[in-house]
């Protein structure tokens, strides 16, 4: 059964019918937002059943759209939190990918700006590595990008999409070894992205992120995960009810090959490891439970089939 990420948008009235349907079909609701009279569900559903969901939600005026970024956690790496980079373009991009279902976190570097003085510390490196992909938002000058990029990517193991002011060909030429994705002509700017051409640029960034993530998905598919992170999310929610009291917008953040559990590591890690998923298989058998560098959260990394010989 091939699960695909989609977004359901509809009225609050009888939306539980759609939610139940998704679960009955074997899908998972990753995020649920209720905004006044509207409900937005970001979910994974079986590819063959999308039409059925559309059919059933039609009388409720529900809308099902493809959302390739659902179930991913993206690090938007901004060079600083100064007025120079915020709210444009960093927040604009972070917000735009969020609209398409991704959970984006803004990672701002303590010493990101400048040319010679730019640097990346170990905490920043580890936090970026906890995400599925890192989107680097750099400046307008190719000289600076060429000079500082080797420093800023040191130790980064996740795919990088680089956004910078120069043209895409120039970016490709100056970055060595190459990164996974490039978007040119998006450097530092100090105006809101609201014109059609600026929105096209945001779409281009999303397209590039999607392309790189698809590649990563294909890699994962070659050695499938022992359990789907979305399923793990449901199990944790059921077995550790304390997660329901967490006020964070996404207490369980689904990633492509794991999930972030926003509970203190010291208190909950052992309990988490011993959760039974199915037929006596515990979470600790098929996933690694690490302390996250982000606050005192827990990071669960699901192991691939080749390491556990189990798929549930």
């Amino acid at each position: 059964m091939m699960l695909v990420p989609v977004t359901y948008k509809g009225g609050i009235y009888q939306h539980d019918i759609v939610e139940d349907l998704i679960e009955d079909l074997g899908g998972y609701v990753v995020q649920k937002h209720i905004l006044a009279q509207e409900v937005v569900l970001q979910c994974f559903v079986p590819r063959d059943d999308i039409e059925l969901i559309r059919e059933i939600s039609r009388p409720l005026f529900g809308e099902v759209t493809d959302s390739p970024l659902v179930g991913t956690e993206i690090a938007i790496v901004s060079m600083s939190l100064e007025i120079h980079h915020l709210p444009h373009p960093s927040c604009d991009i972070a917000e735009y990918v969020r609209r398409l279902g991704a959970k984006s976190n803004m990672v701002s570097l303590a010493r990101g700006p400048g040319k010679r003085i730019a640097g990346l510390n170990d905490e920043e490196r580890d936090v970026i590595n906890e995400h599925d992909i890192a989107v680097y938002l750099l400046g307008n000058f190719e000289t600076c990008i060429e000079y500082k990029m080797p420093t800023l990517r040191r130790g980064i193991e996740v795919p990088i999409v680089l956004c910078g002011g120069p043209d895409i060909e120039v970016l490709k030429k100056i970055i060595d070894p190459p990164v996974d994705g490039y978007v040119g002509n998006v450097g530092r700017f100090m105006r809101r992205t609201k014109e059609a051409d600026q929105l096209d640029k945001l779409d281009e960034i999303v397209a590039e992120i999607t392309r790189v993530l698809e590649k990563k998905r294909d890699e994962i598919a070659k050695d499938p995960l022992s359990v789907s992170p979305a399923r793990l999310m449901g199990v944790i929610r059921e077995k550790i009810p304390e997660i329901l009291d967490v006020t964070s917008p996404t207490p369980l953040t689904v990633q492509m090959a794991g999930l972030r559990v926003k509970l203190p590591y010291d208190t909950f890690a052992e309990r988490l490891r011993h959760i039974e998923i199915e037929d006596g298989i515990q979470l600790g058998d098929i996933a690694e439970v690490h302390p996250s560098r982000m606050r005192d959260y827990i990071l669960v990394r699901v192991l691939p089939f080749s390491e556990t010989n189990t798929v549930i």
Binding site: H84, G114, K115, I117, F141, T143, G165, F189
Partner: protein
Amino acid sequence: MLAVEYFEVECPEPLGAEYYKQIANDVLLDHNLLKVVDKLHIFIDPRVPVFVAVGILRKITTVVRVGDFANVNPQEGKMTLVISDETYLAPMLKIFWERFGKDKVEQPDRFTVILYDVPVQAKEIEEIVVADPSESVHKDLIYALRCIAPEGFRLRSEVFTGSKFLFVASENTLAEDIGTLIKEKFALMGEVPP
């Protein structure tokens, strides 16, 4: 940038210059400084790296008076001011309190101020000077130029005189002969440094 007589951004990277022209335009526009700047020349060399902004200011003669942002309606025993722009509301109230006393000034809501039994005509009230934008223009300009300059350039040298200004920034110690560069950039505008 219609109001600025001369506006150039010089950079060895043409695309970078184009972006910085846009940034400078946006920042000056946001900070309402376009009508203040007469000439502006920005030079950026990311290879050094250095950022130089030199320019000429226009004389600001206008002051903000109560009549510019409020409608004064004299009534029997009182005067009602209908405020259309709140920006200068606080300094205006302060002036009224000092001049007439707090008991004679009432503000029932955000956009209304009522003066009771004040011994002046409506015309005089309208003429009261509330703010002088030229007082803060240098401060605003320094802030704007800090926003325009690349963020890592934290070593700065600024000179702001009556009508001329220069702003140099870099992440390295500024070169000793930076004065020559500044002179060159002023010469491009047909001016001499302050």
